[in-house]
Amino acid sequence: MHWLLLVLLSIFALPDTAGAMDAIGKVRRERPADLDASTTVATRYGTLQASYETDFPELPLNSVHTWRLSLQDKNGLPVVGADIDLTADMPEHLHGMTTTPLIQESDTPGLYLVRGMNFHMPGYWEVTLDISGAGSRHLLRFNLIVGESQRAPEGRKADES
């Protein structure tokens, strides 16, 4: 077996969709101080770019919601017909969501709906996309911080000027 395939297999043998108790064999990772929580990520050479949106100004805590996930190739063209495997985990806690989301391709080319997302603890989450069908197999990862943005009280927003 090719060594790269072995590495890939070993990565994906570890996490299942995760829930209350699936810590066996995983390694706890602390949140990096300079976590990049961008809602748009790309593979190293830009061959595939993914971004997400929700109906909320911040990712909601304890609320089952839908992600609108957009995929583009390196020319900025929508990627249709992708086969997407999504997992969400808390690296510090070694568990995932209490839901198993469903990914549906929408009528808009390159736009996929992820129904059933639910973050039930505040903190550092990782959402990993394992995407095939776009020519080859790609791994993309979103870092998220859930439930830690302070809503500033009215009239006390920081002056941007």
Partner: protein, 390 residues
């Protein structure tokens, strides 16, 4: 920001010097608790996320179109307190869900017609929950209310008796709310509607503002009246949102994520599978969210049920996170009522912390003082904690 290459770094240097001078001035004693009131941005955000000021109006209840109907709630309230809805005429919902005791009772396990298998759940804030009972085997509040009525050790009656009782005592208000005579309806429909009225009442039981909420508000306001909490309570709050990791599960303004976790509670040999058997019951009930008597739109509503992870292996032995609001006023604790004080609960969390059960029983290395401080903080989550301190 406008670029001002010359002199800007000097200005920043001056500012920094001035700033550090201020810090030194405002923080003269570098003792152990000198930083007690210096919250990080993350801590501040988490404190606000727990505050009652962040509690939105209750979410809609799509499976119960009477959920927010005041007349349905009035009918439900009357039935909630009516002990005729029991096998011996002495047990009402209010028997175990005592208003004078945080809507639960002071017993390890509920006592109706007989002894229940688990502790009576506190029902304040149920409008915000997705799953009901300790194991979440009901997927709506109205279907939850039907369980105890037919449970032989709780009310000990059946749906036929419920229909007869509604006809005998609530015929007029029933007709008013449900726009039909209970005599004409199938027994299951009357039973479901009774649950919907009970749920409409229970949805009105909402938390009261506590000393913690006043503190959270003070942190946001200019007053910075941080003396609202004692030093021990403040340290407890810092542990709660930080090292002790309580906030992992006890999060949001109701201090619960409404999900199911291992707590490492001793069970004295009584094996209780908890959430592990709930998935079967969710599918078996005729009063489910997607069932015949639900008002939900099966296409649009209920994604939390549709996409629920039903891996029994993961959830066996887990129980729903209860709210901590009012908890200090209403011992005993846990699904089996095994602990008579919060000190015992906290001690057990420390004892099982780091065991192989799961991440959720990891609570940092807590000292005796930490446990005392956490207990002090939990006391600030009771509404009568306002009187204690003021």
């Amino acid at each position: 920001m406008k670029a001002e290459p010359l002199g800007s770094s000097k200005a920043i240097g001056l500012l920094l010097t001035a700033f550090s001078f201020c810090v030194v001035l405002s923080n003269p004693s570098k003792g152990a608790d000198a930083d007690l009131f210096d919250w990080s941005a993350r801590e501040l955000a988490l404190i606000q996320s727990l505050s009652l000021s962040q509690l939105l109006p209750p979410p809609s209840s799509p499976s119960n179109k009477y959920a927010d109907d005041p007349e349905a709630a009035a009918l439900g309230r009357a039935i909630f307190h009516d002990s005729r809805f029991s096998a011996n005429g002495e047990v009402s919902c209010a028997t175990c869900h005592r208003q004078d005791y945080g809507f639960t009772d002071d017993l390890p396990k509920g006592l109706g017609i007989g002894l229940a298998s688990r502790r009576t759940m506190p029902i304040v804030g149920m409008a915000y929950q997705k799953w009901f009972f300790w194991d979440g085997r009901a997927d709506s509040l109205w279907s939850q209310t039907l369980g105890p009525l037919e449970n032989p050790v709780e009310h000990g009656i059946d749906r036929h008796q419920v229909q007869q009782l509604v006809l005998a005592h609530y015929s007029q208000p029933y007709q008013q709310v449900f726009e039909d005579d209970a005599t004409n309806q199938p027994v299951d429909q009357v039973f479901a509607n009774t649950g919907k009225a009970l749920a409409a009442h229970v949805r009105t039981l909402l938390p009261e503002k506590t000393r913690f909420d006043l503190y959270a508000h003070a942190l946001q306001s200019d007053s910075k009246e941080t003396g609202i909490l004692t030093e021990a309570e403040t340290r407890g709050l810092r542990l709660f949102v930080g090292k002790a990791k309580c906030i992992n599960c006890h999060n949001g303004p109701m201090f619960t994520n409404g999900e199911f976790h291992h707590s490492g509670t001793p069970d004295a040999g009584e094996l209780d599978p908890g959430r592990g058997t709930a998935f079967l019951e969710l599918e078996a009930t005729e009063f489910g969210f997607f069932g015949k008597w639900s008002d939900a739109d099966p296409e649009a509503d209920g994604d939390h049920i549709r996409f629920l992870d039903r891996d029994t292996r993961k959830y066996v032995g887990t129980f729903k996170t209860p709210t901590l609001r009012g908890a200090s006023d209403r011992p005993p604790y846990m699904h089996n009522g095994t602990f008579t004080s919060l000190a015992q609960v906290l001690n057990n969390y420390r004892a099982v912390s780091g065991s192989t059960l799961a991440d959720e029983v990891s609570h940092g290395d807590l000292t005796d003082r930490d446990l005392n401080d956490l207990e002090a903080f939990l006391g600030t989550l009771s509404s009568n904690s306002n009187d204690v301190h003021n």
